[in-house]
């Protein structure tokens, strides 16, 4: 089974790297130095939220506790995202070395990979890989001769819950509870797994850490834009000739990316997965960066033949399925938004009702407990607004107009 669809290797994440390099470098310098390198690199979280990694790690390493944990969030559930699959299958050394470096920096002794249940087929090879690392003393006791540096990694499988990609829901499920998000604060950096300080980092973030420790923060900061340093792995799917994983510097324009993947007659691009935003053709000169069009890497392309209402319906069905049901705005709100889409589909709607639903969406963005409900109205609002004409005003459109 061929799962390799890496299409473009860039100069950062996919640059040359050998297993153990970052760990060797890390144990020869001080923990503080690693934090300074990360600060210089301005690395932000690659899962999508974009929290500065140096801040998260400084706070976790400064927290006082009998034990700390580092969790690698490999619960890659956002529709259209598959970069972590490629990283874990082809570059496990980057991810695991990044975790060991993290363990050293934070003073943690246990690393946990939370691997989504859908990726169970890679469990065996990852565990074999960890076993090799143990043999080479890259894991275990007194790693590479560094007295007192003990760190090991275990893998826990998720069981098909999108919401567990949210860090507190992930921790809940690691503890053996339903994967329902917690209120924040307290944040996991203080009260995480088993009540101990815990840093939860995305797979790609940890891979970037390995390079930064080895090559320096200023090297990393040479790439990208002012506010978004380094490069990003984009998972490209949909209507294009060359879908796959692309490493591109932050600041790449959407139009440039479309050219690269050989997309033709593109009508819209959904950036950031189902919970992201739908960008119409008129905005293709916008840049992919935290400060402009922010994303965890999902890029789904739709050509002229696609029905955007159908796309929206697919997304809303997803959210109705995946809402954990804990808080009301998300549990009820997503159902209402989906009902709205179905009304439009049948042509049984009023504009005042649709406007009310948009308001409901904005309420959900404010009132939901976690990122799922806060972002699930994004496609509803952005597709209905950006494709207003297609959905409401074009003539022969499946009876969608109010008669």
């Amino acid at each position: 089974m061929e799962l390799n669809t890496k299409k473009r290797t860039g100069p950062v994440i996919f640059s040359e790297y050998e297993r153990g390099d970052a760990i060797k470098k890390a144990v020869s310098i001080l923990r503080e130095d690693i934090l300074f390198e990360l600060k210089d690199s301005k690395l932000k979280g690659r899962g999508g939220a974009g929290f500065p990694v140096s801040t998260k790690w400084m706070l976790t390493s400064a927290a006082k506790a009998d034990e700390k944990f580092l969790v690698c969030n490999a619960d890659e559930g956002e529709p259209g995202t598959f970069k972590d699959r490629v990283l874990l299958m082809e570059y496990p050394e980057l991810v695991f070395d990044g975790m060991v470096v993290g363990g050293y920096t934070l003073g943690a002794h246990q690393g946990i990979v939370y691997l989504r249940g859908e990726y169970e087929y890679m469990l065996k090879s990852l565990e074999d890989y960890l076993e090799e690392m143990r043999k080479d003393n890259l894991l275990g006791k007194n790693i590479l001769g560094k007295e007192g540096f003990n760190f090991d990694i275990c893998i826990v499988l998720g069981s098909g819950a999108y919401v567990c990609g949210e860090e507190t829901a992930l921790i809940e499920s690691l503890e053996g509870h339903r994967g329902e998000p917690r209120n924040r604060p307290p944040y996991p950096i203080n009260t995480g797994f088993l009540g101990r300080p815990t840093s939860v980092n995305n797979v790609e973030t940890l891979a970037a850490v390995s390079h930064i420790v080895l090559k320096g923060g200023s090297w990393f900061a040479k790439f990208g834009t002012d506010k978004s340093k380094g490069s990003k792995l984009f998972s490209v799917s949909g209507d294009c000739e060359k879908p796959g994983v692309y490493e591109l510097p932050w600041g790449t324009k959407i139009s440039e990316l479309l050219k690269l993947v050989e997309a033709k007659n593109t009508k819209a691009v959904q950036v950031g997965g189902a919970s992201g935003f739908c960008i119409p053709k008129s905005q293709f000169d916008r840049k992919l960066a935290y400060e402009e069009v922010s994303t965890g890497g999902s890029v789904m392309i739709f050509n002229e033949s696609r029905d955007m209402l159908h796309v929206l319906k697919n997304f809303m069905e997803f959210f109705v399925d995946e809402s954990c049901g804990q808080c009301t705005p998300c549990r009820i709100g997503n159902v209402k938004l989906l009902e709205g889409v179905e009304m439009i589909e049948k042509g049984e709607y009023t504009f005042s009702h649709i406007n009310k639903l948009k308001d409901l969406g904005r309420t959900m963005q404010l009132a939901s407990k976690c990122g799922l409900g806060q972002s699930s109205p994004n496609p509803f609002i952005s597709i209905l607004e950006n494709f207003n004409d297609e959905i409401f005003n074009s003539g022969n459109n499946g009876g969608r107009n109010v008669s």
Partner: protein
Amino acid sequence: MFVAEKNALSEEIESYVNKYGSDRSALLMILHEIQKKHRHISEFAQQEVARLLNIHPVEVYSVISFFAFLNSNPKGRNLVRVCQTISCDMHGKAGVVQAIERELGIKIGETTKDNKFTVEYANCLGLCDMGPAMAINDQVFLKLTPEKAVELLSKVK
């Protein structure tokens, strides 16, 4: 359930507890092992897990009912999950599903009479670049056509 079966299941669960520990944080992996082997987690199994982890059986049930991949009622011997998310949808998921439904004579979400297959939808399998995709048990299959999907099913025992 016969006493011998119960004893065997208890022993099996004990071996998982030995492997993953008796703290509650071991629950997900223990349930995963049981699910993988028996394709469901029976009431008796739930009680045994609860006893060994020293928690209430309802706590175990609450976790099972939360996760899409864990279930307390038996399913078919082989679980087929077709990705329904947009990238796979655009590349022909509907045709694949239709072919499977016709071939097996069931609707999605159902189990065949001979108990050989349960067919379900799955949300994004992370194979968007090679859709339509589906998983048969823990193996994934890519770039499906209706014909190819049916052929894959015919090879399953």
